[in-house]
C-alpha cells in the first residue's frame, strides 16, 4: 500500500500531469462555453419568428418561380429557350411544405440528441491525455533512472510496474468518473438554459450512463497502452513514436492501399471506425460498389455492422497484449 500511495503521489506531483489536466480542463470548458453561446432556448417567440421566416422564404420562392415561368414562356421559340426545360413543363412550383419552420429555428441544445456526441468528445480527450500521461509517467522514470532507484528499494519488478500501472489507472478512473459527472451536470444545465432536456427518460439516462462507462473503458485502455508501450521501449518517445507510426501506417498508408485495391469494407481496417463503434454501440459500413438486389428495395449496397462487443474485444486484446508484453519484458530484461 505504501508503494501504491507513493506512486499516486508521484503521478499527481508531476508537472506534466498537472499541465495536461489543466489543458484538457480548459479545452472542455471552451467546448461547453461554445455550446452555451451557440445554442438558445426555443420558446413561442422563436417559433413564431421561424414560422414567419419560413413563410417569407416561401413567398420569395413563389415570386421567383412566377418570374422564371414568365421568362421561360417569353423565351420559347428563341435561342434562350435552351436555358429552360422544354415547354417549361419540368419547372417545379414551390409548396409551403418545402419551407418548414423547423429549418429556420435557432440551434438549440437537445440533451438527449446532442449529449452523446459530448460524451464521445470527453472520452476522446481524456483517452488522449491518459495515453500521454501514462506514457510519460513510466517513460520518464525509465529514462531518468528513477525506475532503477525504485527497484533498488523494492526489488520486485512485477510488483513495482504493476503498482505503477494500478496507480495510473485508478487515478484516471477517478478522474473520468468526476469529469463525466461534472460534464453531464454542466450540459444538463446548458440544456436547461439553452435547449431542452424534456425528452430524457430513465432509459435515456441509462443509455448515457452506459456510454460514459464505455468512455471510461476507452480512457483506461488508452492509459494502459501508453504506459505499456513506454515501458516496453523504456522511454516516453517509444509510445509516442509507435502511435505516430500507427497513425501514419494505419490511417494514411493502409487506408490508401486498401482504397486503391478496392477492398470491401476498407474502413473496417482503420482504427477510428472501431472507436465510433465502441462509443455509439454500432456503426454500419456500406460497400457502394456492390448491389444486393431485392425486388422490394431494388439495389441495396452490402453492409457490415460493427458492434460494441466486437470493438470491446479488440480493446481488450490490445490491452492484454501490450500490458502483458510490458510485464514480460519487465520480468526478463536486465535493467542497465
Amino acid at each position: 500500500m505504501s508503494l501504491y500511495s507513493a506512486e499516486t503521489r508521484r503521478l499527481t506531483k508531476r508537472r506534466f500531469t498537472k499541465l495536461f489536466l489543466l489543458g484538457v480542463t480548459l479545452i472542455l470548458l471552451a467546448v461547453a462555453a461554445g455550446m452555451f453561446f451557440t445554442n438558445e432556448k426555443v420558446g413561442p417567440e422563436q417559433i413564431a419568428s421561424a414560422q414567419a421566416q419560413a413563410q417569407q422564404e416561401f413567398q420569395r420562392s413563389q415570386e421567383q418561380f412566377q418570374r422564371d415561368m414568365t421568362q421561360c414562356q417569353a423565351d420559347q421559340g428563341t435561342a434562350q429557350a435552351s436555358n429552360w426545360p422544354p415547354g417549361c413543363e419540368g419547372m417545379v412550383e414551390p409548396t409551403a411544405d418545402d419551407f418548414q419552420a423547423q429549418w429556420f429555428m435557432p440551434p438549440t441544445f437537445d440533451f438527449r440528441e446532442s449529449f452523446p456526441d459530448m460524451v464521445t468528445t470527453l472520452a476522446a480527450l481524456l483517452a488522449l491525455v491518459a495515453f500521454i500521461v501514462g506514457a510519460s509517467f513510466v517513460g520518464a522514470e525509465w529514462s531518468s533512472g528513477g525506475m532503477m532507484n525504485l527497484l533498488l528499494w523494492r526489488p520486485q519488478r512485477l510488483k513495482v510496474l504493476g503498482t505503477k500501472l494500478a496507480a495510473l489507472l485508478v487515478f484516471f478512473t477517478a478522474l473520468t468518473v468526476v469529469f463525466s459527472a461534472v460534464w453531464t451536470g454542466l450540459f444538463y444545465l446548458i440544456a436547461q438554459a439553452r435547449g431542452t432536456s424534456e425528452s430524457m427518460t430513465s432509459g435515456a439516462w441509462q443509455s448515457i450512463g452506459l456510454m460514459e462507462l464505455r468512455g471510461l473503458a476507452l480512457v483506461i485502455v488508452a492509459g494502459a497502452v501508453g504506459f505499456g508501450l513506454a515501458s516496453l521501449g523504456r522511454h516516453t518517445a517509444m509510445a509516442l513514436g509507435v502511435t505516430i507510426g500507427a497513425v501514419i501506417v494505419f490511417q494514411f498508408g493502409l487506408g490508401t492501399v486498401l482504397s486503391l485495391a478496392s477492398v470491401k469494407f476498407a474502413e473496417a481496417y482503420l482504427i477510428p471506425i472501431w472507436m465510433i463503434a465502441w462509443m455509439d454501440k454500432e456503426v454500419k459500413i456500406e460497400d457502394y460498389n456492390s448491389c444486393d438486389f431485392s425486388s422490394a428495395n431494388g439495389c441495396v449496397p452490402d453492409s457490415l455492422t460493427l458492434t460494441w462487443p466486437m470493438a470491446g474485444g479488440i480493446l481488450a486484446a490490445v490491452f492484454v497484449l501490450i500490458v502483458g508484453a510490458a510485464m514480460w519484458t519487465m520480468r526478463s530484461r536486465d535493467v542497465t
Partner: protein, 330 residues
Amino acid sequence: MTAVLEISGLQKTYRSRKGVRRALDGFDMTVEAGQVHGFLGPNGSGKTTTLRTLLGLIKPNGGRMAILGREVPESLPEVAGQVGAIVESPQFFGNFTAQDTLSLLADAGGVHKDRVVAVLELVGLRDRAKDRVKTYSLGMKQRLAVASALLKEPKLLILDEPANGLDPGGIREMRTLMRNLAESGMTVVLSSHILGEIQLICDSVTIISGGRRVAAGSVADVLKSNTSSSVKVALEPGVDMRNAIELLRANGAQVTVEHDHFTVGNAGNPAQITRILAEREIYVSELTPVSADLESVFLQLTGTAPVEGQNRQVDQTAAAPAPANGGWGQ
C-alpha cells in the same frame, strides 16, 4: 568476522551480433561485517555489472551471491530493506525537489519521514532540499544519491563512485562519513577510481579486471603481496651514470633511467647492485626501496598502466605480470 557479502563464481555473458562478451567470468568477492571495502577495477572490468547483478537489476548466468547471509536474488526482497545502494551516476527525476525525491522513496520503502530530514542534514543538502534536482550540480546530485542510500539505515551500504563530482571539501566529508558509518557498525562497499581515497578509507579491497578477481584482502596485504622489488639508485655526483646502467643491464637488471637517478625493477637482492658497481669502483650515494602505492599495484594487476606512444582502448588490459617474488640478484 561474518561475511556480509559473498560472491562466488559469478558469471554474466552478453550476446550480441558482434559475438559473446563475458562481463563477469567467475568473479569472487567477500566483504566482512563492519569493514569499508574498496571495489576497484578499470573501466569495463565488470564493477558495475557486479553491483547491478548483486542488486537484482541484472540476471547472472551462473554463480552464487549472498547478502547478510541470505541467497540473492531469491531473498533480495527480504534483505533489500537493509541494503542501501547507488549504482553508477546518480539519476533522479529533475523536476522534483530533493525533499520530494527522498520522501517518495521513503513512502515506497516504508521508511519514516523523519529520516528524510536527517539524511539531508547528514549529506549537507538541508538548505537546498526544496530546490528542484535539475538545478543541482553533479556533486549535489551525488550527495542526494548517498542520502537516498542512507535513508533506510542500511546494514550494508553499496556506493558506486560516491566521490564523483565532489569538490575537495566534499571528498573529505565523504571520507569522514564513510569512516563514521563503518564505526557505527555499517558495512560499506565503495567502488571508486580515486585510489588514494580508497587507500585512506578502506580496510580491505577487491580488484577486478576482465570480469575476474585479480587481488583481494586487506589493503596492507594487497600492497605487500604485490609490491615490486624495485630500488632507487643514485650515484656520487660526477660519476657517469651510463656506465653503471650498462654494467647492471649486462648482469640482467631491469633498469629505468630517471633524471638524476635510475631504478632497478627486479632487485630481489639490492646488495648485488652495490657489489657489481663497487667492483668497478662506482659507488652509490643512495639505495632506497621503492614503496608501492595502491595506484601502482592497481595498474600492475589490471595491466592498465599507460604505455608511451600507445592509446589503450577500454577493455584492453595487458596480462598482469606475476608478483615479483625474488627477482634479479637472488
